[in-house]
């Protein structure tokens, strides 16, 4: 019994990381037909954001609130990755709708650039750059309330850019001074210090649940509920679904399809950022952190059935449990007297990487039987 529970919990832990990582991808791939290979790098940005936020909370002023930085990090990471995704959509992806193979190549290029970016640009400057971009975007919104500026749009635009640049440079300069760790670029991994309440485990009799895992599971549930609510209950979610079903018709109905595209991609990217926070709790953060997850994410989406949120949930849980069962050689615990031959086989796959081999091979086999995934989207939706 304990064994089953343990397996379920570990599976949920592995699956929840996969799911939260795949959630944004499910939106971008499922709803827009865009293959975003830079998704892992957007996660990486989220993980680095956690690191930067955590560094802020180590300053004397914010020190007392250190325990709560993780919540701030979730929000900021969403905004950081979401903004980068938004820029990506406006500049590149927009030209490539309906050509998924091209989006695949383009986003791969973007992922290389992002990786090299964090290697060569100090985090202080990146933070300044992001702040500047946020100010430049928010500037017109604020400025429009001032009557004098509303009359002169050029002044407003110029003003926001100048203010943005100033904010960015000032912020970067200040961060360099205040947080020397962020002042120099490095290709080396950094470690996020978890607040005290996030460390250790929850004791349940003779069995301990690691808290970070619990938090990630909670975060994932929250994210899934939020995405479900957003897509199915909110006005913009309705618009997004409308555009997915029939772009031309939506256009005719006055839905701003371009805004919808940007928003969808932005939300998907932002979710990658949130996933990045989760990932930063599990290990050190480096430029390559995204690459470890990207294929797994695609497997979740494809296995679950493209465009199907619940499919992704089931698929990630299944992959999680299966990985745990195979990787920890649990069959041996259940059935200690199994024949030696079989035992050798089970032991052969009882490592993390070999479990992966078997799980992926199984996925490929499942797709043989169900090419459209476990829960295929029915109806006459256009084939991607």
């Amino acid at each position: 019994m304990t064994l089953l529970l343990e397996s379920l919990f570990n599976g949920a832990a592995i699956g929840s990381v996969l799911l939260i990582a795949a959630l944004g991808l499910a939106i971008v791939f499922g709803l827009m037909g865009v293959i975003n290979l830079a998704h892992g790098e957007l996660m990486m940005l989220g993980a680095y954001t956690t690191y930067v936020v955590q560094s802020f909370f180590k300053l004397p002023l914010l020190e007392p609130l250190f325990g709560g930085y993780i919540f701030v990090a979730v929000v900021v990471a969403f905004l950081v990755s979401g903004l980068v995704g938004l820029l990506l959509e406006r500049s590149v992806i927009r030209r490539l709708y309906g050509r998924p193979l091209e989006t695949l190549l383009a986003t791969w290029g973007v992922s290389l650039i992002l990786q090299q970016f964090v290697r060569t640009v100090p985090l202080a400057w990146s933070t300044g750059l992001w702040l500047a971009a946020m100010v430049a975007l928010a500037g017109p919104l604020v400025g429009n309330r001032l009557w004098g500026l509303r009359q002169r749009p050029w002044l407003l635009r110029l003003g926001s850019w100048v203010v943005a640049a100033a904010v960015g440079v000032a912020a970067a300069g200040w961060i360099r001074g205040a947080m020397p760790k962020l002042a120099r670029a490095s290709a080396r991994n950094v470690d996020v210090t978890a607040p005290r309440w996030l460390r250790g485990g929850l004791d349940l009799g003779d069995w301990t649940l690691p808290i970070p895992r619990l938090v990630i599971i909670g975060l994932t549930i929250l994210a899934v509920v939020a995405v479900y609510w957003f897509l199915n209950r909110s006005l913009w979610g309705l618009r997004i679904r409308a555009v997915t079903q029939n772009r031309t018709m939506s256009d005719c109905l006055g839905i701003p399809t371009q805004t919808v595209d940007a928003l969808t991609f932005g939300v998907g990217s932002g979710l990658a950022g949130v996933a990045g926070v989760a990932v930063s709790l599990l290990g050190s953060v480096g430029p390559n952190v995204g690459g470890d997850y990207i294929v797994g994410c695609f497997m979740v989406v494809v296995l679950g059935g493209v465009g199907n949120l619940w499919g992704a949930v089931v698929a990630s849980a299944g992959i999680g449990v299966l990985t745990d069962v195979i990787g920890a050689g649990r069959l041996l615990e259940v059935w200690p007297q199994m024949p030696a031959r079989l035992q050798q086989g089970v032991e052969f796959f009882a490592t993390t990487s070999m479990a992966r081999v078997l799980v992926f091979a199984l996925i490929v086999l499942v797709l043989q039987v169900r090419p459209a995934g476990l829960f295929p989207q029915r109806g006459r939706m256009a084939e991607v």
Binding site: I35, L112, T351, S353, F360, E383
Partner: protein, 380 residues
């Protein structure tokens, strides 16, 4: 399409061109340093894998992100043979290659045995990857999995193989890979300058032969037309009575075989084969060589592999930080503006348009004849 098959007797210009090419290949070893020659030889072998990618992607529309599997399989085949036939290398107990001793392996794993034979190895280098590719392809194509799903599945397969090879120390030395530098082939040390020079020539020869083979398959013949038809409208081709699956399987297997040859040549010239050959970025990188060179033209793909890799090594030597930026930019450029690659750009009159945009209007002397429209797929 006008007749693009080679004529006999060939035109003088062609004879001259081929003669110059031959002279260049023969003379290169005495023109450049052994280090550069070795790099050139490696890149030339990469041109062969690019050829295969062009065949499946440029002509048949299947974007594989898993060519690294077949590339590495070819490399492992060559390296296993060399490790077994290394008489001067230090040995583990029982005469096994040295690394087996580290893991306490006493008996040679069964699949190593046939690699004692050079003939078996020569065949296995391309046949094994081709068979793996054929099997994988058949399973996927039979279910009409195509487009991005095919790409994702090939990447997943790549990950499977990568993890497998990476985790199996006792079978193939895991993440350390197999070294070939100090082994011997035909009485010469593989890593020696003289051997590397011979390998360069061998690579050049094989590049030429594989190019001719692919050209014969896809240019001008109905087989090649069927591939283009699969790429452009598979459902229509079905209604003509064609089953696309054997075509795709065959081409994918062929590309796998080419990747195997390429990997074997690359391995003996770089001195090592390791699971890194199956790392995801490398396989995607291969695609960009083809995309930049020009998908759908065989020599464009090969030239792309050569030129981009040379650029990579030159740029990385001068400014190590910048290459990934440049490579990322290349992906974006090829996708957004240069879709036919460089060769495609030239064939579609890109230079003229560029000049026109810069204000250099070149006036056409006559109304453009309709003959201009005949295939950009024709090779000269």
């Amino acid at each position: 399409m006008a007749d693009t098959r080679s004529r006999w007797p060939p035109r003088w210009s062609q004879v001259l061109l081929w003669g110059m090419g031959l002279a260049l290949v023969l003379a290169l070893p005495s023109l450049v340093s052994p280090f550069r020659l070795n790099l050139l030889g490696r890149y030339l072998s990469l041109a062969i894998v690019a050829l295969g990618i062009d065949l499946i992607w440029g002509y048949t529309g299947l974007l594989s992100l898993g060519q690294g599997i077949f590339f590495a399989l070819g490399g492992y085949g060559a390296a296993m043979h060399l490790q077994l036939n290394c008489h001067s290398c230090s040995r583990a107990a029982g005469g096994l290659p040295e690394f087996f001793g580290l893991y306490g392996v006493q008996q040679l794993p069964w699949f190593w045995e046939p690699f004692h034979s050079p003939w078996f190895t020569l065949v296995a280098i391309w046949l094994a990857p081709a068979l793996v590719a054929g099997l994988l392809g058949f399973l996927v194509f039979r279910n009409r999995i195509k487009g991005v799903y095919f790409s994702i599945l090939t990447q997943a397969a790549l990950l499977v193989f990568f993890n497998f090879f990476n985790g199996q120390q006792k079978l193939i030395n895991g993440t350390n890979g197999l070294k070939t530098d100090l082994t011997r082939l035909l009485g010469m040390m593989v890593g020696s300058d003289a051997m590397q020079r011979n390998l360069f020539w061998l690579t050049a020869l094989l590049a030429l032969l594989t190019w001719l083979l692919c050209r014969r398959l896809v240019v001008g013949g109905r087989f090649g037309h069927a591939l283009l038809a699969i790429r452009d409208d598979e459902a229509r081709l079905r209604c003509l009575g064609y089953n696309p699956t054997p075509f795709k399987t065959m081409v994918f297997a062929l590309a796998g075989g080419l990747a195997g040859i390429s990997g074997a040549l690359y391995t003996v010239q770089s001195g090592i084969v390791s699971p890194q050959f199956m790392a995801a970025p490398f396989s995607i990188e291969m695609v960009i060589w083809v995309a930049v060179g020009g998908r759908g033209t065989l020599w464009g793909a090969m030239a792309g592999a050569l030129v981009i890799n040379m650029a990579k090594s030159l740029v990385s030597e001068a400014w190590p930080q910048t290459w990934l930026f440049i490579q990322g930019g290349l992906f974006l450029l090829v996708v957004t503006t240069l879709q036919g690659g460089v060769v495609g750009w030239f064939q579609e009159g890109g230079p003229r348009r560029l000049l026109a945009r810069l204000g250099w209007r070149t006036r056409l002397s006559t109304y453009p004849a309709l003959e201009l429209e005949t295939g950009p797929e024709g090779e000269d």
